[in-house]
């Protein structure tokens, strides 16, 4: 077991525990950076997709995992980000401005949406945001002159610093662009969590009454959280558009919203790691399933089985399994495994025993 002795306050403030942990993350970063030389084009595309989902996951994680506000409407913000990016690019705005702006616009929309949503809790907030997700389809159809409506829009490559970046033409460059944004968002997220604002998010999530008593303005904090969450989600949406190349009113459906929420639950709510673990599951599940399908198909005489909605159904089953057996998600499971090895052979089974939390009614009395 590694024991970290704390001798100065910066050790608590720095995002890494010690030099060992820092070097692990740097090695991981180096490997991920070198991926284009290691992987073939197909898997590089898959990895790009995983990173885009991880950005979206971080976006939703801020709101749901850290501020405790469930959203079933985040596909709407993916759409806002995607469309603003493309519309700005078409208007001749260079990518270096259009992309950040797409996020900022989406963030502002998110903060505005937060105002009516502030009074809603739990399931009511989920229903409200779900309605948004359904509405966005109609909004895209209604704003046809700008959005292209049902026939949709296309996006070819973009130009950045004189380089032409295109998902198909220059997949390496597109991958590095996505990776750069992923790293920037993750660093900003880490900084947020070690600052007063991030802690006030957690405070609002865990106890609104005592957050208030500590001077945290609930409405303001939730609005900021919505704004930040939607901004990051907007960026992910912009990348999703560029990754897909073509999209219309049905691309960012309610299903995507649900998948996004499932993803962060499976990954582990309340941790940045969770967004990444969830994205890996969501990114590679279709691959895994198609391999499994082929295998099953071969077993039953050659033809591949085609069951509509199979992917989603299996995803739902995985989610239920996690909620029942591992509410802390993959990240929680990882922590347990790590602790097991660190403490070996002193691990006790009840070490992570779930604590019953008090019923939250009547708690002011």
């Amino acid at each position: 077991m590694r024991i970290v002795f704390k001798t100065d306050y910066m050790q608590d403030i720095r995002p890494w525990k010690d030099g060992y942990q820092l070097s692990l993350y740097l090695i991981l970063l180096a490997v991920v950076f070198a991926a284009p030389w290691i992987l073939d084009v197909f898997y590089l595309g898959e990895l790009t997709n995983v990173l885009i989902w991880a950005i979206a996951g971080m976006g939703l994680m801020v709101l749901t995992g850290h501020t405790g506000q469930a959203s079933l409407g985040h596909a709407a913000f993916l759409a806002f980000g995607c469309y603003s990016n493309v519309i700005l690019l078409e208007a001749g705005v260079p990518f270096i401005l259009a992309f950040p702006l797409a996020g900022v616009i989406t963030g502002i929309i998110g903060a505005l949406v937060a105002i009516p949503a502030l009074r809603l809790h739990g399931i009511y907030l989920a229903i409200f945001t779900l309605a948004m997700s359904i509405l966005v389809d109609d909004i895209i159809v209604l704003t046809e002159p700008w959005s292209g409506g049902v026939s949709g829009k296309y996006i070819a490559g973009i130009d950045l610093f004189g380089l032409s970046i295109d998902r198909w033409g220059t997949p390496m460059l597109f991958y590095w662009l996505v990776l750069a944004v992923t790293v920037i968002v993750a660093l900003g997220y880490i900084n947020l969590l070690r600052s007063p604002l991030g802690r006030s998010f957690i405070a609002v999530r865990d106890s609104e009454v005592s957050a208030q008593a500590m001077g945290v303005d609930i409405a303001r904090t939730k609005t900021i959280s919505f704004g930040l969450s939607c901004m990051v989600t907007g960026w992910a949406g912009a990348f999703m558009g560029m990754f897909a190349g073509a999209f219309n009113n049905e691309t960012f459906s309610v299903v995507i919203s649900i998948e996004l929420l499932m993803m962060i639950v499976i990954g582990g709510l309340g941790s940045i790691h969770g967004a990444f673990f969830g994205a890996i599951v969501i990114g590679f599940l279709p691959q895994f399933l198609s391999i499994a399908k082929e295998y099953v198909g071969a077993l039953f005489g050659g033809s591949t089985v085609a069951i509509p909605g199979l992917e989603f159904g299996i995803f739902g089953m995985i989610l239920i399994a996690f909620i029942l057996f591992e509410p802390m998600g993959i990240y929680g499971r990882w922590l347990k495994i790590r602790t097991f090895f660190e403490l070996f052979p002193f691990y006790r089974k009840d070490m992570f025993k779930r604590q019953k939390s008090y019923l939250k009614t009547e708690r002011l009395r």
Partner: protein, 254 residues
């Protein structure tokens, strides 16, 4: 001028008058206790000071400010900190993080400097650590600093809640039943801590407590309540021997 002035405050929940035309003042530097049977309205008085409820009538002033003009989140800014009867900690955060939330009212940075973690944000974090670390030392919480609240025993949680309130650097500390559910030893610790909070830190304490040993040990004045109204107010000995108080506790039959 008194530090806290409650003047003719009434609060009704539907047909129930939880606080009934109540008046009292808390002077700077004293330990003031509120006692009374369950349902007397003691916690409701705290919640009124925290601005969770708007009084039906009356005035609440703190340190010269009209508290009724501020939002619930504005009360802490004036220097009022509190604990809750049914512990309200941030369950899925560490003790250190909980205490750092207590520093929120001293926040000088903004969204941008925090996301970039500029030198000013770093300096503020260092200051916050120093303050919080003083509180950790004072309440002997070193062993729990990096533990999640969700795994802590009840007695420790109670102390963490006091620590979080102290981290705000308050002028007035509201303690809602600080000793309920604590063992005899833990109650004794709490007693000395409350004494030190007043003497060393110069913080005024307003507490609700059932343990009469603790109340008479630390408090200068005691207010006895029943059914939302004032029964008696005076030194611990005076209140304990007051006929109305004895009647409220022992029932009308005696």
């Amino acid at each position: 001028m008194s530090l806290l002035e409650i003047e003719n405050v009434t609060l009704k929940f539907g047909g129930l008058t939880a606080v009934d035309n109540l008046s009292f003042t808390v002077e700077e530097g004293e330990v003031f206790a509120i006692v009374g049977p369950n349902g007397a309205g003691k916690s409701t008085v705290f919640n009124l000071i925290s601005r969770f409820y708007d009084p039906y009538a009356g005035q609440i002033r703190f340190d010269g400010h009209n508290l009724l003009e501020v939002k619930p989140s504005g009360v802490a800014a004036y220097g009022v900190a509190r604990t809750f009867q049914n512990i309200e900690l941030f369950e899925h955060a560490t003790v250190l993080q909980n205490l750092l939330v207590g520093r929120h009212r001293h926040r000088k940075t903004n969204l941008f400097s925090e996301i970039l973690f500029t030198p000013s944000a770093r300096r503020q974090e260092l200051e916050n650590r120093e303050k919080v670390e003083e509180v950790i030392d004072f309440l002997d919480l070193q062993a729990y600093r990096d533990k999640m609240i969700a795994g802590l025993p009840y007695g420790v949680r109670k102390v963490v809640e006091v620590a979080r309130a102290l981290s705000t650097d308050p002028k007035l500390l509201l303690l809602d039943e600080p000793a309920s559910g604590l063992s005899v030893e833990e109650t004794t610790d709490m007693r000395w801590w409350i004494d030190d909070i007043r003497r060393q830190m110069g913080i005024t304490v307003l507490m609700v407590e059932h343990d009469m040993g603790l109340v008479s040990g630390v408090s200068d004045r005691v207010l006895a309540m029943a059914d939302g109204a004032k029964l008696a107010l005076g030194t611990p000995a005076e209140v304990q021997s007051h006929p109305a108080v004895i009647e409220a506790y022992l029932g009308k039959a005696s």
